[in-house]
Symmetry: D2
Subunit: 475 residues, 4 copies
Amino acid sequence: MKLSQITDDHFKDQCGIFGVFGHAEASNLTYLGLYALQHRGQEAAGIVSSDGETLKAVRGIGLVSDVFGREETIASLIGSSAIGHVRYSTAGGSGERNVQPILIGCQRGEIAVAHNGNLVNADVLREQLESAGSIFQSSSDTEVLLHLYARARIGPVEDAIASSLLKARGAYSLLFLTQNALVAARDPMGIRPLALGRLGDAYVLSSETCAFDLIEATYIRDVAPGEVLVIDKDGLRSYFPFPKDTARHCIFEHVYFARPDSKVFGRSVLASRLEMGRRLARESPAPADVVVPVPDSGIGAALGYAEESGIAYGMGLVRNHYIGRTFIEPKQKVRSFGVRIKLNPVREVLEGKRVILIDDSIVRGTTSRKIVDLIRSAGAAEVHLRISSPPTTHPCHYGIDTPRRSELIASSQSVEEIRRRVGADSLAYLSPTALSAAVGDSHGTRHCMACFTGRYAVPVREEETIELFPLAVSR
Amino acid sequence: MKLSQITDDHFKDQCGIFGVFGHAEASNLTYLGLYALQHRGQEAAGIVSSDGETLKAVRGIGLVSDVFGREETIASLIGSSAIGHVRYSTAGGSGERNVQPILIGCQRGEIAVAHNGNLVNADVLREQLESAGSIFQSSSDTEVLLHLYARARIGPVEDAIASSLLKARGAYSLLFLTQNALVAARDPMGIRPLALGRLGDAYVLSSETCAFDLIEATYIRDVAPGEVLVIDKDGLRSYFPFPKDTARHCIFEHVYFARPDSKVFGRSVLASRLEMGRRLARESPAPADVVVPVPDSGIGAALGYAEESGIAYGMGLVRNHYIGRTFIEPKQKVRSFGVRIKLNPVREVLEGKRVILIDDSIVRGTTSRKIVDLIRSAGAAEVHLRISSPPTTHPCHYGIDTPRRSELIASSQSVEEIRRRVGADSLAYLSPTALSAAVGDSHGTRHCMACFTGRYAVPVREEETIELFPLAVSR
Amino acid sequence: MKLSQITDDHFKDQCGIFGVFGHAEASNLTYLGLYALQHRGQEAAGIVSSDGETLKAVRGIGLVSDVFGREETIASLIGSSAIGHVRYSTAGGSGERNVQPILIGCQRGEIAVAHNGNLVNADVLREQLESAGSIFQSSSDTEVLLHLYARARIGPVEDAIASSLLKARGAYSLLFLTQNALVAARDPMGIRPLALGRLGDAYVLSSETCAFDLIEATYIRDVAPGEVLVIDKDGLRSYFPFPKDTARHCIFEHVYFARPDSKVFGRSVLASRLEMGRRLARESPAPADVVVPVPDSGIGAALGYAEESGIAYGMGLVRNHYIGRTFIEPKQKVRSFGVRIKLNPVREVLEGKRVILIDDSIVRGTTSRKIVDLIRSAGAAEVHLRISSPPTTHPCHYGIDTPRRSELIASSQSVEEIRRRVGADSLAYLSPTALSAAVGDSHGTRHCMACFTGRYAVPVREEETIELFPLAVSR
Amino acid sequence: MKLSQITDDHFKDQCGIFGVFGHAEASNLTYLGLYALQHRGQEAAGIVSSDGETLKAVRGIGLVSDVFGREETIASLIGSSAIGHVRYSTAGGSGERNVQPILIGCQRGEIAVAHNGNLVNADVLREQLESAGSIFQSSSDTEVLLHLYARARIGPVEDAIASSLLKARGAYSLLFLTQNALVAARDPMGIRPLALGRLGDAYVLSSETCAFDLIEATYIRDVAPGEVLVIDKDGLRSYFPFPKDTARHCIFEHVYFARPDSKVFGRSVLASRLEMGRRLARESPAPADVVVPVPDSGIGAALGYAEESGIAYGMGLVRNHYIGRTFIEPKQKVRSFGVRIKLNPVREVLEGKRVILIDDSIVRGTTSRKIVDLIRSAGAAEVHLRISSPPTTHPCHYGIDTPRRSELIASSQSVEEIRRRVGADSLAYLSPTALSAAVGDSHGTRHCMACFTGRYAVPVREEETIELFPLAVSR
């Protein structure tokens, strides 16, 4: 079975995107960029490059190193601009048909797109497009954008893209590649991240800045919420076709998704996590001997908690990183089997100790129960579970793979009930206010916290009919 | 390198198609059917099945036994109806994107299509469709049909299909699969073959009847030129939406493409080939000791020639069938290397003999030269080359992969020049009249012979603009 | 399941071997040679090359084109001498451990061996070698020879090889490769074939001459029964260490194993098969309309039968050559399923006809039954089955995969019983005398016919103890 | 290229071994055990199981999850006992031939062996065995042991094994599997680790205890230095055939090889590393703002250093764990390319800080230079490199892959020279005395420290001739 099914209980980011314009090794850099973004999606990867005349695509199921493991593969992706995509396949998704970037031909020529996010009105738009005669080859919401683009009859590429995006609602950080241009776009609330960098004369774009570090590119700024950024031989040009909106960055990027060495939304992820840990220590202290993170995602907060509380930080759980993507279970199941494949407790750190266990979130609660059991099996005297975010009570509709609401343990159970369920001696979550503060929102939030609050930044299903024709773009 | 590039010099059929409606093992039977049609396309294979609710697709590069080599693969194609496709990839084709059946969603729901043939006005239609906002994911002419279908707003499936086909010009035998119906269609001239059969209560369709034999289905009749045949829970229904036209079956199916054990266009292929050989013997006799076919395609005609001439039939060339699809050449090339991989002369049959060598066609002439050399290298005293069809002077536009005209040796050289080029002692082709007669056309031809005559059944590029909207269907 | 299990009922040759000495492209030529010998073993392939210092090996499960499908693979086999092996894996064989050539190190340095044949006293030798402390990594009889070789303490390589072979009983054509020499050896009765050829300054060795044809090498002569032939920088040297014995070539090479375009034991295989057919026609005529071979192995005899009888030769069964090595059966089995995958009857040839069906042998009888059924299903009026060899009543112990005696239908049933079992109107086998004559034995046989007669050339199990030490070699 | 070549500069453990006796899921547990030991060898993996009658083997190149990724594979390894092996392939090693466990047949029946360690007199023994007629199929030192075993004519399995081991010199932890018994053995000085555990009624053996944790087995004790431990249906039996010797456990297991959550030589690895860090802080303090480990191997010592020094522990380098085994480099190399693939600095932690960087060892120094550069590139004010072991000046001959002496930077350069070479502001190593103390040796060492001192526990090449016959075993 899939290893993630037996060992992991997290919200899953659905995608990472990366792009290059104006570099002789565009596809190789994109490959490296995707490699650095691999944690954002391990099920499929793809790159489309342009040599100024045609677009070439390689896409496949597997890790970046599987899909692009042979030098000929990268070498076939000729040209000085490229975009790439890594994808976490949602349950029930339809395999190869949905691997991005999507590449199509239309009256404007060839275009490819890589999308991080989710359009909440994709169904409505698809219905209308189908009524107008469009055919769909994938079940992806992203394909809708290309149909809208293809129907925008006139004007330059940025107008066609803007006119498409004006019809879409939801979360999107997008990279479009045409023969001659790379266009980046971000939804008006900036829900998903997208950073702009520079490498010599070339421009690079990435979901997270850790990809810039790998190729020694310099971070310039984020693509702004609502910005359509065109990069072509004439340089950069910015357009803001949308009405001004409030920023609503996905706070879970700081809580769990992004790598600690990345900046997202202009802020260091590790700095946020350390601060979450410090504030968690202040809000929910516990008399204890050691602060132990659930690696790797709990490490930042645990360091912050230890620092603030003065309690020693201990490596009480060791993670096995040599994991394939599938796993054969023994028939005669051992008790806490799944989680032991990935985590092993260290008796020397835990035995006889009062342990503060730090994790970033509890989704269904099943894995947390197993981890608490592990800690106790190694002789811990007490286990105080501290979560560096508030209870996750609502699913996400903006490009994150979350279970339905009924499966979210915190949607129906109190903290005390959850504590009993996971078997901890005490349980505390970080407050929404403290979380906001930890990510740098001192006065009013700039972040989407819908998964904790149910207050969705974008209404999830609008019954309005969007007028597809004619298309009008304000520049 | 590709083995076919070094050993073969034939026109190549581009596709074989197969379908089943109403059988519990629909996808398994389709797999078997494609297996029997493998000679019609070895580069890619695919099957789409329907369980009455959704359509499932498996497509891949390789032989049928590569793509469907695991039981789980077939098992995943649930449902009681299915269509399949084998494909010979044309040079420069764009890989996985073009593997059929194509499967899309549109306002009418999901539909898949498998196509044998070629639309001569696909470019014109694509341009118009793109102007109307359509996007194309493949470079295949077939995708055009699905766009036309998706834009047909009203009426039952057969009307939508008919309205699409009314806009298309060219050669097509088509199988469409929807949730609930299997629709077969053939162009008004019946250029490419398509046969209807029965297996218990189920209906089956196939490019050639040899696929029926394998699954012990019974041949009923050909789908008629211009017929749109709907198979659903209510049984068979036929429509003839096109103006009546003259039949123009591809005569090369009898000359080379089809398996000798198949019926195409209602006639036994082996019977045709035997008769070609007999007529060739009458038209172009030669004093000789042995009649030797170029295996496997020359065997039928050679048997006919031997029978008619009274000269002994001999197995002077043996073919190696254990061939992969690629081959590593020795650097230090042997003289007739390529062809020896596939063919080896038998000295005992050839030494000191006057040989009549029978082949079905000469395309570029390079392989023929090597084969004549082979025969001589085994000691033949004379080599009289006899071709069981007329000189191929024109490329095909109806779904056959042919070189451009300038590469066809007979387009610019006389028979005597070709004889010298291939190094034969004498060379003769079958006359067009004799070929017509050999395939059963006694009074006026029912076959397309454009590759021999340049008289194309369908004009190749029309400058007319086809009116896409509105759609009108005559039933 | 394995395709051969459902479609084939033949004795199977277990191996083909090929070697080159003194050619810059030794491993590439060996690859080509194995390719030409692929019909002798489709389960595994291997090549070992020598660059004068060390030996390199590549071995794998699969066809030659699978194992050596990448240029790097051949390129890694550096050096100017090489030996190769193709293998038909016996049922229950132990996989990768038994793939040849075997390569070992010992006091004499590295040596590799490729073996066609079988040692009847391998068990006895293995027992003794194990008693003397030898360890075995494979279950192959061939490994015994290397142990004997390694224990031969003194003298040149030919002495060590000869001393090993003097202890072995059975059938063997062998190629040994050391750093500096290629040594060919053949058992004293010459049971299995081995031919010597020349390509420029290089020497080549092959089970069949068809491999010479492919690389344009010239056949010189067979390695003689009992000959140990050393090829090194000083040229060829022959040794005959064995007492003189009578030749006992495997007659089944002419009946079925070898390619018709090969010479084995110095005689054209096709010539033998034609003659088998002619003599079969004289011994067992039948009033009929058409002579139909079971392709491909029955073609030669059918042509001979047709020639002699004056009855027309007809292509009544067509073979599908696009076969993978495994096959997924439909659950709802069709009657004659297995055989139809490979063979399809042609109604035009068979309908209403009295058919003489020519096959080379009947082993279990099950496939013959299905083929007779096929012929009848296509409308044949009568089926007269003629077999171009005598009834196979005994298993082979000299390197051929045969079922145990009880499974051989002719070991327990009369010709009339077999006729009824396979459903033919009449059945006749070629007489042993005629078969002998057909392969050129006019006065007394030079061939082993144990599978027809039970008179084994080499006693199958000797209870004698072979003295392993000391080793004495007569030169 | 191989990723490890561009990012890693460590001594490499060559193997991990695991065994089970008496459990219905023996091969599945072995698979899990190898999975937990994957860090000890990533190039190849193998399992041999016994069902009491025959031994079955599966071995292959790749990670455990690659070689055993399909349920059928494990399922084919039937039986209630099994042994397994993971291997780090040494440069120039000869591929598939050397994958363990080795499985052979001999006069005593079948036996398999899995070996962690290295025999220093393997060459001498091999020469003698070859002189006595043995043949070798691998270049592995381990094969020697099986030859010795096979030549031990009499007595029970433990005698045969003991008599073999008495001839071998060097480091070995071994698992032998026969039809009916699992035998564990360890060299007289106990150089490499081997632990015994219990799972229900079954016994398990493993290089490290982390494998016991995964399957919820209980650690009983280490196999003692010089112990031959037989496990069969009668339970456990211990033999001590060797003269008593001093323990010389490989101290590098604590420094780097073993997982921190393992016990080796009866002591917690994490406890050792924390203590190394503490003692390093006492021996070599530095005025600094943050203690940063090179992950993952430096984490334990860094935590100890931070604790002892009172300086904050910081996550200044983040490791990317989604790595394949090969990597395509950009042509236009970035400065610190290799190491960035695996490590990324976190500016927030490092900028303007005086950093104490903790690593476990410096081998060639090239990677250390790159890491110091990385730290500086993120703005560190000072970099004080602290190494939690003494300078590595000598290669290992006991089963560890180390460069030759001349490549070890500390063999020819002073600490100050190395400091300049790696570009640190200061550099200090842990003293040998402190290291000894950190692994629990308070009075005189029980560990081999030859890589730091050159005082080898076992002389590396003895010119003595070992008498192979007769074999005498003292029980």
